[in-house]
């Protein structure tokens, strides 16, 4: 009896989880199905057909030839790559004194940093844009300045600083003392002793910064004026305008743009789903 009960409960749980999983991926599957349908197959037919009658890659080829996906991909890589590197360096630089040193104004700096977590970017984006304009960090000046304008406002945030600070706090102080006795200066202590010990946290920060930067849409769509610097999300949104009624192309383009992040996710999945992102909550 009891066995039957646990068994049917397990069945119920599997059934629910399968349903939730399907709901989670169905919108993408339907997009994929549409992308695989050829020009002679009606994508609006009732009842809808999930499996294309004669699947074709024609839409993928067509949209690939008209949209410079490789360029958008490279732009996204440049922006996300530099954003990650800057976040890792600046966060762990700032976190070190906040975790380990005594200095005048520490309290003020600590709470000022904390306060920035509470400022939503959406509420200050207009002045940020005006500042970026004033500093000539826009793509109308040149590409490099354009990239800088995309990257620099997101080069560090309080969330990352506090994450690194937590990691430094967990390291025993004796480590630094020993290193100092051995003749390390303070920069070497940070670089050679502390950073290697917080690698797992650095990895978490890197991955979540990467995902955030890779998916960012609002900021690039505000600052960019030239297609040459479009990142993938901006390029994908552009599909709608270019192929207004051609849902096969829009679907195919959207799928293509998703492949890189999908590969990244599968490769790094343990960081996302094993609970290692504990404390990596971003508002």
């Amino acid at each position: 009896m009891r066995n039957f009960k646990t068994c049917s409960r397990g069945f119920f749980i599997h059934l629910s989880l399968i349903a939730v999983s399907l709901l989670s991926i169905f919108p993408f599957l339907w997009l994929l199905s549409t992308a695989l349908k050829g020009a002679d197959e009606n994508i609006f037919q009732y009842p809808p057909v999930f499996f294309p009658e004669s699947p074709t890659l024609a839409n993928f080829k067509g949209v690939w030839n008209q949209i410079p996906f490789m360029l958008y991909f490279l732009n996204s890589m440049i922006v996300a790559g530099f954003t990650v590197v800057l976040n890792l360096i600046l966060s762990s630089l700032a976190a070190y004194p906040l975790a380990r040193m005594e200095f005048k104004g520490k309290k003020t700096i600590f709470y000022a940093t904390l306060a920035t977590i509470m400022i939503p970017f959406q509420a200050i984006m207009l002045p940020v844009y005006l500042i970026v304009l004033k500093l000539n960090m826009v793509d109308s000046v040149n590409s490099v300045m354009g990239y800088i304008g995309l990257i620099l406002p997101f080069a560090v945030n309080a969330f990352g600083i506090f994450l690194m600070r937590q990691a430094f706090l967990a390291i025993p102080k004796e480590m630094e003392e020993a290193a100092f006795v051995d003749g390390c200066n303070v920069f070497q202590i940070w670089w050679k002793i502390l950073l290697p010990m917080v690698k797992p946290t650095l990895a978490v920060l890197a991955i979540f910064t990467f995902i955030g930067s890779w998916g960012e849409f609002l900021w690039p769509s505000i600052v960019l004026t030239k297609k040459a610097l479009y990142t993938l999300p901006v390029g994908v949104n552009d599909l709608q305008g270019m192929f207004s009624a051609n849902w096969r192309y829009i679907a195919a383009g959207s799928i293509i743009s998703t492949i890189p992040i999908l590969v990244f996710f599968i490769a790094m999945q343990r960081y996302f789903i094993s609970g290692e992102n504990d404390g990596a909550v971003k508002g």
């Binding site: 919108p27 360096i89 630089l93 509470m118 959406q122 940020v128 202590i189 999300p233 996302f272």
Partner: protein, 290 residues
């Protein structure tokens, strides 16, 4: 401990981050407040100081009330789903059954994929002759203009936010569930409590701080939605799906009405600041203590 660094060293370490935070957080923060007292509408190159006129204009504008109301609706519809659904799913996933990793990957997938792609995917589901209207047809219901009917467009957009957030909050719950003491469950099983009683008496009390955290975090992010609306409806039809960030975007970057946009930004700032302070004092105070 022996001081092994010179007095100026801490500031040296803080300097690069401080420059960025100053330039892109603090200055813009104060500039938003300053701009909100100026009128840019008459002449964008020679703004006039108008004290509270922008705020008064906002409070007189029916569209702004509509926007605030929509933002409020967004919050009270999306947040309960984002608090409850992920919790139930997390409890179901937190068992020793097969295929857990696959379930987690699939349910987390919407979090990873760009919100632009997600919005496009839903736009396709919502199409007039799309698959959702086919489902309505099967249920003998009339077809709905999911994104084109002012009665529905806001809720259609909210659904995308909910769908995209479930995996994220599920992971937060899952890491909290790991810390529930196992022996409490065992005690329950010895007492013969059924699973529902077990979760109500053991899991729920243990997760209360996490539930509070998810409530605050999802509320704050509901205040900040933009991309879903931008990609799917542009706030329409008839402002039916326009929320505050989209309104700010429109006034600032399409109408170049910097003063009004800044006044609306200050209102958003105040709301989010209050929510964040609540969140920090109630739920996230451990990480952020000196």
């Amino acid at each position: 401990m022996y001081k092994y660094y010179k007095k100026y060293v801490p500031y040296l370490f803080l300097l690069p981050a401080a420059v960025i935070l100053l330039l892109f957080f603090f200055i813009p923060f104060f500039e938003t407040i300053v701009l909100s007292f100026f009128d840019y509408n008459s002449n964008i190159y020679h703004p006039q100081f108008v004290s509270l006129a922008n705020y008064i204009e906002l409070l007189k504008s029916p569209v702004f009330y509509k926007v605030l109301w929509n933002t409020f609706l967004y919050l009270i519809v999306a947040v309960p789903f984002l608090v409850v659904f992920p919790l139930i799913i997390a409890i179901m996933i937190n068992q020793k059954i097969k295929g857990i990793t696959l379930y987690k990957i699939l349910i987390y997938l919407p979090v990873i994929v760009s919100i632009v792609v997600a919005a496009i995917a839903f736009k396709w589901l919502y199409a007039q002759q799309g698959i959702l209207n086919y489902a309505m047809d099967i249920l003998h219901l009339p077809a709905i203009g999911w994104l084109t009917d002012p009665r529905f467009s806001l809720y259609s957009v909210i659904l995308v936010t909910i769908w995209k957030g479930i995996g994220y909050y599920m992971m937060i719950y899952l890491s909290a569930l790991m810390s529930v003491p196992k022996d409490l469950y065992e005690a329950c099983e010895v007492d013969g409590a059924n699973p529902i009683v077990k979760h109500l008496t053991v899991t729920l009390p243990h997760l209360m701080p996490t539930i509070g955290l998810v409530t605050m975090v999802s509320s704050i992010s509901a205040m900040k939605v933009f991309v879903e609306i931008y990609v799917m409806t542009k706030g329409g039809p008839l402002d039916a799906s326009k929320t505050i960030v989209y309104y700010i975007y429109e006034r600032a970057f399409e109408n170049l009405d910097l003063g009004i946009a800044s006044a609306a930004s200050v209102i958003l700032l105040v709301i989010v600041l209050v929510m964040s302070v609540l969140n920090f004092t109630l739920f996230e105070n451990k990480q952020y203590r000196l």
